[in-house]
Every structure is written in C-alpha cells, then in structure tokens.
Amino acid sequence: MEQLVLLPVDWLEERSGLIGGLRYFLFRKVPRETNWFHTLGSATLTAFLVQAVTGAILAFYYKPDPDKAYASIQNITNDLTLGWLVRGMHRWGASVMIILLFLHMGRVFLFGAYKYPRELNWLIGVLLLLMAMGEGFTGYLLPWDETAYWATVVGININANAPIAGPFIANLLRGGSEIGTNTLSIFYAIHMLLIPGGLFALIGLHLYLVVRLGVSTPPWTKNAAGYESDDGRGSARAGLVEPRPRGNGDGGLQRPVERRER
C-alpha cells in the first residue's frame, strides 16, 4: 500500500526533483520563539490567491464594455448561482488583503526584519504594496456605477496633479484627454493582466529571498538563528520532520542549513 502511494511520488521526484524542492521549501529551519505574527505574510499570500482565483472566475461573466459592464455586474450579483458570494469574496477580500499587507509590513518593521541581509526583500515588499494599491484603484472602476466613475475621475485627477509628469500619467490612465470608453478597457487590462503578472513575479522573488535568507529571529529571543538550543528543550526545529532525500539520494536538493559561526 505504501509502495502504491510512493511509486508516483518517486517517479515524479526522480524526473523533476519537485518533491525534494517542496520539502526544502516547506520544512525549513525557523528560529524558535516565532509566533502568530510571523504568519501575516502567508495570510497576505492566501488573500492574494483568493483574489486571483475569484477574479479569474468573475472575468468569466464580467464584460468590460461601458454599455454592458454595469449590467454584467448586476447579473453576477443577482442572477448567477453563488455569484453574489464570489463577487463578495473578491470585493471584501481586496480590503482584507490590503489590511493584511499593512499588518505584515508593520510586523516586519517592528521586528527589525528589514535589516541586513533582508533590505532587498523590504524593497520588493514596497513594490508589492504599490501594486496592490494599483489593483485596488483599477478594480474600483470596474463596477461602472456612479461611485466607481466619479471616484476614478477624482483618482485620475489626483494623479494628474503630480508635478511635470502628472498630466501625462493622467492621459495614459484615461487613454485620452477625457474619461470614456477607453478608460474602462485600460483599467480592466491593467487590473486583470499587467499588475497580476507583476504581482506573481515579485511574490515569487519575495518568497525566494525568504527561503534563501531564512526567517529572522524575533527581537525578544535569546537564541541566535541556526543554533541548536542547548537548554535541554530539544531541537530548534521542534515538531518538524527531518527532510529526507528521495530518488537517487544525492542530497543535492537538501542543502543543510548553514550554521553561522560567531
């Protein structure tokens, strides 16, 4: 029976190394005395994935056309089975994601987790924050009701007030000198294609750096990262299984965590 389960897993591992890679990604050493605050990043990622999935499904029925957009939103909300739920998840999930993003940023700041060698990850995080705000701004227009329209008029004109570049940014967002039919398609394309692509790429980079650099020690801990504790309370990786190489067992996928000597 065990063989039956392991056979496809081993088959996949031997040809791709994906299982070992996944283990390397999931079963990392983390400093002890980490707590729930360290889960805010994962929570934000979860919120983003919810947005990505619900957004893609909403796109099945949404029509980015000035004559049809509002009616298609009404259709999703009132007529389609569970449409109200998916739209609600996307609409409220957007706020949840922004809130979690700020909490995550506050955690990183207050724990000093942005310091060497993690400055680059902080910068990527700032970009992710800006892109998430961009998602919020562009997504707000899509229902194409009065609130959406005039909020976007105001939003674009705020952008237009940036010195020097402002008028050009505004023309770019509007797709012309006036808000009109182009604006909705431009916002839809930015919301659906441009920013999500960038978000996925930067989240990948963000996670890569998290895995490469490890989780920072909480400011109150007396245990340095990477050290086995010597106070008799067991290993620093309490509860986590020792990653065991699969396949040919060359161990190339299971690089041991480097111990920093002091």
């Binding site: 004559d67 105001v154 674009i156 008028p167 050009f168 009109g180 039919t181």
Partner: protein, 315 residues
Amino acid sequence: MADELDRPEEQGEPPSSGSEAHLPSPTIWPFAFAAGIALVLVGLIINWIVAAIGAAIAVVFGFLWIREATREVRGAAPPPPAETRLAEVEEEGAEGEIQRYSRTRFLEGATLGAGALIGGIVTLPVAGFAILPAFVDQGHDDIDLGPLANFPEGQWQVVTFYSTGADVSTGRRTAFIRNNGMLDGVPSMTIISNRCAHLGCPVQPQGPTTTQGEKSVDAKSGEVDVVPAQPSGFGCPCHGGAYDTEGNRTAGPPVRALDRYHYDIVDGNLVLKEPYSVAEVDGTGAQATIHAYALADPGQHVDGPEQIFYPYIPK
C-alpha cells in the same frame, strides 16, 4: 556489458571500423530541400506555378543532398573537415586556448546581442503604442447645440450634450450657458464647463432646480437637453468647491476658475469649440475680462508660481 565496452581501451586496440558511427558530413542541402517542400505546400493553396517552382527546388537540392550523403559509399573523397584550421590552432597550446575562449565569448556576446536586438525590435512599437497616446492630441469635436433661439438673452441654461459625437453615455457632458446679448454685432455667450477645477467632479447650479421649461433639441451632435435655471453660483458635491456665476472660485479647494468653451455661431446654431482653462474672470457678462490658458487637468494651476509644476500640458 561494461567489460565489453572497456576492453578496447584496456588493450589499446583502435576501434574497429565496423563499429564506428557513420556521421554524415555537414551540409546545407536539407535546408534548401525543406524550403522547396514548403513552397510546394504553399503553392498547392495559392498557385500551381509556385508549387512547380517548389518542386523544382526540392528535386535539385534533394539530388544534391543524396549525392552528399552517399559520397562515402560511392568512394568519393570526403570533403576536408571544417575544423582543420581550428585544430591546427589548438595544437599551438596556450595561445590556441585563448583563441578558442574568444570564440566562445564572441558567441556569448552575439547571442545576447541578437536577443537584445530582437527584444528591442519587438518591445519598442508596443511600448510606443502604450505610451504615445499620453502625448498625442486627442482632439475635440465641434459640438452643435441647436438653434441660438433656445438661449434667450440674460437667461442661464443647463445644457447637457454628447461631446464625442457618438451616442455613448460616457461622452455626456454638461455646460452652463448664458446669452449676454450682442457685443459688436456678435452674440456674446458665457459657456462654463461643469468640470470642477479641484478634481473634476460635476459642479451643480446653486439655487432652486426645476425641469420646467426643459427642451430636448435634436441637434447634429445628438440629443441636447436645455433646462433653464437661476443659479446664484455653482457648487461641487464632492469636496465643497464653490464658484460664483462667472466661474470664479469663492470657497473650497479649487485652484482656479471653472473651465470655459470657445464657441461659434454656424447657420444660426450655437457650436461649442475647444474648451480652455481660466485663471480668473474680472467683471461680468459681455464686459468680462477672461484670463484664459490652455486646457489643463483639474487641480493644476495655470497661473501664479505653481504653474512651473506643469510646464508641458499635453493637448
């Protein structure tokens, strides 16, 4: 199995000619042959002449290819190996290795360079298409608002019209229009845009609103609604900007007066031309002095020291 493979090396025997791989000598004929075949297929759809040319190419280069491939069997001398010169250089030792290395470097650079060139060729027009609309004039259509008789002297009208010509709801705009009477033999009109000079919300006439006397005119630009009003000024619902009846800011966050439209009288019809921005208006009605500037987005200063922030306003 492993022993068999190892044996020749151990015994120092040269590999027997029977087990040697017969690699065909490098040749470009298959490329030309394939092009001929492709031409035949295209010709079958387009034109039989093309197919015939393709067939001729395929036959000629197929023959050359077969000749090339069977050269060894026919006992002809193999072509000199292409690597001869390189091999000679290699024998010279350290200097030769440097030569080899530079060739690798050249290929690296060539690959990266070609990639960058192709990327640039593909990206430039796309980026231009994405960005250029921000710099290029979109133009303003002239808007026919119907007969001048609908605008009696000294009377404000709230006029709603299609600005884009097409019947799309997003092109619906509103202007406040007052006929100031004749000035030098030409009707003088005050035509104020309802776009707030703060952040672009629609300003509303202050005072009693009514739809009494509303007229719907079937003008050249589409349906035009004309509603008489007696505004004591204009106010913005979004952030509380307030203006007097000349469009001058009286309170709130706007940075300048309300925009206005140029106008013309064509065949007795009132026609709206380009909109323009106004810093302020001195005086009232036909005698007013309008400090006019090129159309700017809401919130942008057109006069005063702050105007240096917006030196290039795209038309």
